[in-house]
């Protein structure tokens, strides 16, 4: 082979080998993340949490996968969810937030990752920018995602009295979208939070027929106010 061709083939082969190795590592980390998510689903479905040792084993598997293939936001999210289960340790929420924030850094367009941060910050008792900024981002990025809608509406209405006007607007926009998807569920969340009147303002956005009892409840709210 001519030296000129070798100068092209050898770097190309090295590049190909590097890509192949990265692909194998990514595939392996994806496999670990998949198995971890399945395992956690089994725990909750059976109602039997595995105890500290079982959680720790899964964390060790995921951390090994993260070392071999850094940059997988799914692994960060699962590690965060595992930390949320370790509430026997005072720092569990802070550790979960580290993983959720890393997931956001790796995949800033994911509304689910922002919603994870909202959930963890709420459980920490956060108010103000710490929770409102991720709440607005989740609402902006996932306006039609049911789980994101639930999180934004639930925590948004919980903190309603303390929120900035732009956060309230984001929550109201999410309520509008959620009323179109499932009005009864949205009204139920608002009612649980003692904020039925906020959701009732969007009753007209519900395209499907809503139980007449909800309409009566909403009318009652209007008369009261």
């Amino acid at each position: 082979m001519r030296p000129g061709r070798l100068a092209i083939v050898i770097p190309a082969a090295v590049l190909l080998a590097t890509f192949a190795s990265a692909a194998v590592r990514l595939g392996s980390s994806g496999e670990v993340a998949y198995r971890a998510a399945q395992e956690m689903a089994t725990w909750t479905a059976s109602g039997h949490e595995p105890g500290a040792a079982g959680v720790q084993w899964l964390i060790e598997d995921l951390e090994r996968a993260r070392t071999s293939a850094p940059g997988d936001p799914n692994i960060e999210e699962i590690l965060g969810s595992l930390d949320m289960k370790r509430n026997d340790r005072p720092e569990f929420l802070d550790e979960a937030l580290v993983h959720y924030r890393q997931a956001v850094a790796l995949r800033p367009t994911s509304p689910y990752s922002w919603a994870d941060i909202v959930m963890a910050e709420y459980r920490k008792g956060a108010t103000g920018r710490e929770i409102e900024m991720p709440m607005r981002n989740a609402a902006l990025l996932g306006p039609a995602e049911p789980e994101v809608q639930r999180a934004v509406i639930d925590y948004g209405l919980a903190l309603w009295d303390e929120e900035r006007p732009d956060t309230r607007q984001a929550v109201e926009r999410t309520i509008t979208a959620a009323m179109k998807r499932d009005a009864a569920e949205t009204l139920q969340i608002a009612r649980r939070r003692g904020r039925l009147a906020v959701a009732c303002r969007h009753l007209a956005d519900a395209p499907r027929r809503v139980d007449p009892e909800w309409r009566l409840l909403c009318r009652g709210r209007e008369e009261q106010s």
Partner: protein
């Protein structure tokens, strides 16, 4: 394809977490009430928050809270109370489960739900060194951490202190102090209570409206007339339970 599989697995996880959530929902709250989960720092509780096994609830001065558990059990706390949810499990299809609540200090009104109705032996309250069992539906427990007073409005409670156990029927009460249980009418018990105990009872009586709203599932909403039977395509009504985000992970999809 693998990434889609991961996302599907996480969605399964989310749905399962919402379905398996067991505990209580805060239906009414006044003043400053905090909850401590495990060994995390206490955080403020708000209406609609969930309280689960392992949580400890603290009420501040001039504060109160009403919680409704999944089986319909009501627990209302008056000001300056501290209560731990030691055990709460509930299986809706069989309406069976287990409740153990510890009132460390303060006043609590307890109204039993399905578990108390179906398995009265599985509903217990600890207050200081006393254990209170449920044989009925409605009563108050007050403790300063040492002495314990119980009054029963409906049904009957059992009151155990040391080796002594008595049954307290409706309209009566008992005071447990210095290792002895002294029964009497509810009024006699009330008259013998120190001022701080009487204040706690007054605070609990002030929660009657909030407790009634929780019992009716209204949470401060107007009570409409019963709706006509829904057509098959209709969306669920206000009394149809739906899962909130609660403690579930929003990360799952």
């Amino acid at each position: 394809m693998k990434r889609i599989s991961i996302l599907l697995a996480l969605l399964t996880l989310f749905v399962a977490e919402v379905a398996m959530a067991a505990g209580a929902v805060v239906t009414s709250l006044a003043g400053s009430v905090q909850v401590q989960t495990g060994s995390a720092a206490p955080r403020a509780l708000r209406v609609g928050d969930e309280v689960a096994q392992g949580d400890t609830i603290f009420t501040g001065a001039n504060s109160s809270i009403v919680m409704k558990f999944d089986d319909g059990q009501i627990a209302a706390l008056t000001a300056n109370s501290r209560m731990q949810v030691n055990t709460y499990s509930y299986d809706p299809p069989t309406q069976r489960g287990n409740i153990l609540l510890s009132l460390v200090v303060g006043g609590m009104r307890a109204i039993t739900g399905f578990i108390g109705h179906n398995q009265p032996n599985n509903v217990r309250f600890h207050a200081a060194t006393a254990t209170i069992g449920i044989r009925g539906s409605d009563g108050m427990i007050i403790t300063d951490g040492t002495d314990v007073a119980v009054t029963v409005t409906e049904g009957a409670f059992t009151f155990t202190l040391g080796t002594q156990t008595i049954v307290i029927p409706a309209g009566r009460g008992a005071l447990g102090a210095n290792g002895q249980i002294t029964p009497g009418t509810a009024q006699q018990i009330f008259n013998r209570l120190p001022q701080n105990f009487q204040s706690a009872i007054g605070g609990l009586e002030g929660l009657t409206n909030s407790i009634n709203e929780a019992l009716e599932g209204r949470q401060g909403q107007p009570n409409p007339p019963p709706p006509p039977p829904p057509p098959p395509s209709q969306t669920p009504g206000p009394n149809t339970p739906t899962g909130g985000t609660g403690g579930g992970s929003a990360s799952s999809r």
